[in-house]
Symmetry: C2
Subunit: 505 residues, 2 copies
């Protein structure tokens, strides 16, 4: 059940850059299954087949609704997909899962995938250490020492109340509204940038610690290297949702992957929905969504088709909302948020390096196009897979044009023999126009509520404005599931109200 | 939407013991809504309206199935319910929730309850300290010091591999089957009791620490005071699911409650199901369940009624399985497990003590009928609510017969002026016959798989054999949801297969 995707790039010294043509279980082929007549009014048209769209569609067909999914890509999964190359599963986007993530874990258990995990961390290989390359310090240290250093700088960075954020963000799933907080406090912390916070605490750090913290932060935010457009609130929120303890950061963020890949998980969800009657059209670019009246909305595609739905669930990410023409237009606040956009324009890049030693290795580098890198498994031939995250370097280069620059960036960490570099450029991807959401200052308190709101019969479901795991797979599942629930309840109510007025047979 | 329950006991010095007659949102009145003809074959008959039964019923009616819930009590919620008395919500059973619990949190967000939480911990009152009363030590210490002591003894107790269990139980949701473990290791640790483990490490503890550890353990297991019938594995599993870190123990186990009570949460789930056609009969004791053929099962009640279902989801707890006559009989292993039963026969008791000071107080005592107690909010009149957990003292007294003994047990912690004691005796309750599951040695590895298995058209869903949060509300929701999924898929398959053979109209 795999197909060939047009996405992903692989660069090797021998062949240069090869774009697309890789095997992924996420590819849906043939790309269309539209059985209804062209003027059929679906109960729901779902725009996008990422996790938000998939779970929404699946829950809707489970509730007996007629649903059409319209997706621009040739595959499901959105910002999450797996390509299989040389016997290895490359997670091109969202990767790690943890049992603290409620929607993810419930789904994994539903599909019996919670037993089928693999680990990124592997302590058994030769180069079992941590490399630091920051101004004033280039050295290899033990993992224990790196945990100590990172734990110290991270805690200092996020500990705004002497209780690691417990007073300011006690309930990260309800960060803006709960009985224990004063919204003014949230607004205060939301108003500053990671740069502001860094400046406020840097006096307590030595030079190496400052470099380590900057590299760490940039690997999280994907913002500009000066940290000025990265909001501080998302760091507080992240620490809170990790349990207000650094101990949980690595296990949650970087440890467990799906053995058979994210695309396999997404595929199981998709197949369940298809079996229950889901219709779909992939490689179909949505141009416009129009609400005609209470019971009818039109979705117009670039190839001139029009689909009809009683409700629309739009799962387009924040940075792409302006690519769709909405009628009636987006609310003022949502439009402002879409215009500003989030600031995560990160690079996620994989490298294959010769030999198995580096599978146990990790490192941080600053300044560098790649900020953090991790050994992440072995290929069947015994070479090591590395995964790496970098900040927003769009001003300096475009990945597809200068992939060699990624090789150089990897080599800043350690003297790797790089055999290939694998990546998806999420920033030039028209269906994402950026990575997972990281908010600029003031964004959360100003726009979160508005982004979650429905507008008439348009529902907006995307991880970018999830309550809880905002830049995680879980956030996508959350928004998809919550919006599907709303739509299911509303359609039922409408059907019930419509019944008495029907002529009896 | 409240009613009067026949459950709960309140003792006061003035009035003695008053049993039942308390207000609970969990009470369903009138107790029956059975619309179908007496020989109607429901798609599913669900036995029990605890969280497992509620979520199963709700998911089934959401999938368009006809469902009847049969419940012995006058209320929903099973081992979890709230009574409102003198303006205070007493959680008589399951209480705390945390965002690491996937099913719970997904449901809370569905019903918009994740913002409506309150905290047990309150640092603002006068007696903001921790009382220890164990052999050789009776003193009041700071909360910081108590955390240090408890953290030390707990970590020593569960740290079997120098990595706090990360190698033996890396994936607590898949504890018996995952790529990182050797089942033999699990069997080894499952074979010993908490007493065995205590004996192995007690040399590293001073007298006070030994007493503190015993009190702590007994407040968790609800087993015999000598700890010999409490299995050690459930402790490893508990530490693992808390993230392998003591930091998360209090926040997960004892911090966040639902502002409007568990019965309110359960009620929202129930009302959703009723709106979608759920039928129900409360105060209805199930005597026997019989599979007649592939498509027909009978449920016989004590009052002589018979209900018919294509599938049966039985949510009876482990210790009550022998109260129902199954035909065909329970599998050999399930029957063995039911005969042995779990060992949690704890006391959960509430006290109201004069004044507000103790709302910030906590304590441990050993030996004592109550092992741990916590300040847990103020009544409208300013008095303090305490909640307390004790081990299996059934050999010595029955709560309803000697409630004064609870008063004495509370006073072992601190010189409280006890105005009332509030409790539900889960051990004499015919529908639980014990508290939440705590396994004896060897139980998990021997019986867990068998307990989760279906038998023909009987499905068994109870927190007692949940994959993950076994003795939590989340475990009930997990088993209810997973079994509902299975049943929904199977009914669909059967309906599909049946279709072609139907005569065309």
């Amino acid at each position: 059940m795999s197909g060939i995707t047009s996405e992903s790039h692989i660069w090797t010294p021998e062949k240069g850059l090869q774009s697309g043509g890789y095997i992924s279980e996420g590819v849906i082929s043939p790309p269309r299954q539209v059985k209804a007549a062209h003027d059929h009014v679906y109960d729901v048209v779902v725009i996008g087949a990422g996790y938000a769209g998939l779970i929404a569609a699946r829950d809707l067909v489970n509730a007996g609704r007629s649903v059409l999914v319209v997706e621009g890509r040739d595959r499901i999964g959105g910002r999450t997909y797996t390509i299989k190359h040389e016997g290895f599963n490359y997670e091109m986007g969202g990767t790690w899962v943890h049992h603290t993530q409620p929607y993810t874990y419930r789904e994994l258990m539903r599909y019996d995938l919670h037993t089928k995990l693999i680990k990124t961390r592997d302590d058994t290989q030769a180069n079992n250490y941590f490399s630091i390359n920051v101004p004033g310090s280039k050295r290899d240290i033990s993992n224990e020492l790196s945990s100590e250093i990172i734990g110290k700088v991270w805690k200092l960075f996020v500990d705004i109340d002497g209780q690691e954020g417990r007073t300011v963000c006690p309930l990260p799933h309800a960060q803006l509204e709960n009985p224990f907080i004063n919204r003014k406090d949230v607004e205060k912390w939301d108003s500053i940038s990671c740069w502001d916070r860094f400046e406020a605490i840097k006096g307590q750090l030595n030079t190496e610690e400052q470099g380590v913290l900057k590299a760490l932060l940039l690997s999280i935010t994907g913002g500009k290297p000066d940290l000025k457009n990265s909001g501080f609130w998302d760091m507080i929120r992240s620490h809170a949702i990790n349990g207000h303890t650094y101990d949980m950061m690595d296990p949650i963020w970087l440890l467990y992957k799906l053995r058979d890949g994210q695309s396999h998980f997404a595929r199981l969800m998709f197949e369940e929905a298809v079996e229950l009657g889901l219709e779909y059209t992939f490689r179909t670019h949505v141009e416009a969504i129009k609400q005609v009246n209470e019971g009818l909305n039109l979705v117009r595609t670039r190839d001139g088709r029009v689909f009809r739905g009683r409700k629309i669930i739009c799962t387009a990410p924040l940075n792409t909302l302006n690519s769709i023409q909405f009628d009636p237009p987006l609310s003022r606040l949502r439009q402002e948020a879409a215009n500003q956009g989030h600031i995560n324009f990160m690079t996620k890049a994989h490298a294959v390096v010769k030999g198995s030693g580096y599978a146990s290795w990790n490192g941080l580098a600053y300044p560098n196009e790649l900020s953090a890198a991790y050994g992440d498994g072995l290929l069947p031939n015994g070479d090591t897979h590395l995964v790496s995250f970098g900040a927003d370097y769009r001003d300096e280069f475009v990945l597809e044009e200068q992939p060699e620059r990624l090789v150089a960036a990897f080599k800043k960490f350690a003297p790797f023999d790089v055999k290939s570099v694998v990546f998806h450029n999420w920033n030039t991807d028209p269906y994402t126009q950026g990575g997972p959401n990281f908010m600029p200052p003031n964004f959360t308190t100003k726009y979160m509520d508005a982004l979650q709101k429905r507008q008439g019969n348009f529902f907006f479901a995307n991880a970018d404005w999830a309550n809880a795991w905002r830049n995680f797979i879980d956030g996508a599942l959350e928004q998809g599931a919550l919006n599907a629930n709303r739509v299911i309840a509303e359609l039922r109510r409408e059907d019930k109200e419509a019944q008495p007025s029907r002529p009896s047979l």
